[in-house]
Amino acid sequence: MLHEKYEPVIGLEVHVQLQTDAKIFSPDSTAFGAAPNTNVDPISLGHPGTLPVLNKKVVEYTLRMGLATHCSIASRAVFARKHYFYPDLPKGYQISQFDTPICHDGYVEILLDDEAVDTVGGDGQPQEPTKRIGLTRIHMEEDAGKSMHDRDPHDTLVDYNRCGVPLIEIVSEPDLRSAHEAYLYLQKIRQLVRYLGISDGNMEEGSLRCDANVSVRPRGRRQLGTKTEVKNMNSFRNVERALEYEIDRQIKRRELGESIAQETLLWDADRGETRSMRSKEEAHDYRYFPDPDLVEVAIDESMLEAVRSSLPEMPDARRRRFEEEMGLPAYDASVLTEERAVADYFEQTLSALFKRTKGGNTQAQAKEVSNFVMTDVMRILNERGIGVDAFPITADRLAQLVYLRMEDKVNSSAAQEVFEAMLEETDRSAGKIAEERNLIQVSDKGTIEPVVNRVLDENTEQVQTYLDGKDGLFGYFIGQVMRSFEGSPDPQVVRELIREKLEARREQANN
């Protein structure tokens, strides 16, 4: 296999839109989806004589990400002008950071799944399930506007609503070794920014964007191959597809003895291939220099401490806690902590359940809540395409249902029915719904016994056949009792009673 002969080397540059209300250097709104050129300001339009002033929240949000990814934080951060001419950038330069990024030298840990583990090394050694991906830097910058080339035969149309929306650029070390690892890394970045509440991480809407530097080299060689830069991958799936394609393309060229040009490629999702941008290969000359309109950002310990104390529990720590303290299986812990809101909902449900159970087997309770959240709740979230914040059953009410189930007040099919009803009847408790529908399980022998007696009396022929050795009829009696009962008898109790009564009749017949 050619892919075993070569090793891909990938680094990602990820741009994340920060979800501030106002832009990075001006007070116009960052709201997505406004009518064209309505969220604008003399500063974001680059009018002469205007002066940018930095939005404090941008610094806080960037520091959140820096601390969450174990970065070193610069004591002073400087903004620089990056010059290039393009109509989506009215000033003729982008305000970015150059040689003093606010955060540098950090890392994130990705959790390798089976697919990724298979793609790492073929030396037969068991692989660590996690892999550390280095971060070179995180810096702050402003977004550009949006230009549309295909709306009009002669002109390019420009919308400056996005111009000046705050971005952080996260640059990884070339530590990724497969398209799938790149995918996992990007998922991790998305998870982190969502946990931190600094971005919605929505790739389709462009709040998360990704460019990749890709090269391949023969396995075991240190020296890197010529790299290409792949752009225009606008979904998680596309990132993986584009990188797979590009890695494959480079390997094939190497095998044919052809060279790989250092160039920028665009991913064409419809055709499933990367294409050269064919721009003039005039090397970009951005002429960076410190922006004289902005003063330095000095980050002191008190600022850092304020940000540090505002950080939520991060997903990896939370996943480990779910496993270690609650005894959840690794899979459950990982699914439940994928989204902060889901993990919050799970924990709220569990603590509401604890209030009812007042102790007992807390691990069994955690697992029961996990089952409800992972299967029933998540199924509805997927079907309806909603987040858990819009889910109609509050954590308290779900805990009522889990409690009914754990106390065997309802059986599992009744629990399902109550769950479905709770989705619609949002003002009633699980217990009330179960009662009204006669779903509360009756375990009291005294209530079930007369029904069992009646059924056996009404089926003397079947009882006789059973006693003659046709054991298969046992199920028939259970069915008859369940059907004749007003409500939901506990099948376990029904089973026991029928067995008891039948044995009594056998003895009677023998005597």
Partner: protein
């Protein structure tokens, strides 16, 4: 430090400027003089001194994250050389 005419043309093109032959010559001379002056400054020993990014010795000038609409859509498009009811219009550019 001499600046060549080619260097002047390169820098001019980056800035989207075009000069006549005479202007190019003049630019080359003047830019050379500026660089000579910078060379003079480099005679000073600045090792151990952090680079200065701003002439004012102030830092952390922030605005709060508050939205204010200071101009509306019509104002925004008023100064545009070309626009329609929604967009700024520029000559077609495709990189």
């Amino acid at each position: 430090m001499a600046i060549s005419r080619d260097e002047v043309r390169h820098i001019a093109s980056l800035a989207r400027l075009r000069f006549s032959d005479d202007e190019e010559q003049q630019m080359a001379e003047e830019m050379g003089k500026i660089l000579d002056y910078v060379d003079k400054l480099e005679e000073l020993d600045t090792s151990g001194i952090p680079p200065m990014s701003h002439v004012l010795d102030i830092h952390n000038v922030f605005r709060e994250d508050e939205v204010e609409q200071r101009i509306d859509h019509e104002d925004a498009l008023r100064n545009a050389p070309d626009a329609d009811s929604d967009y700024f219009r520029v000559p077609k550019v495709i990189e």
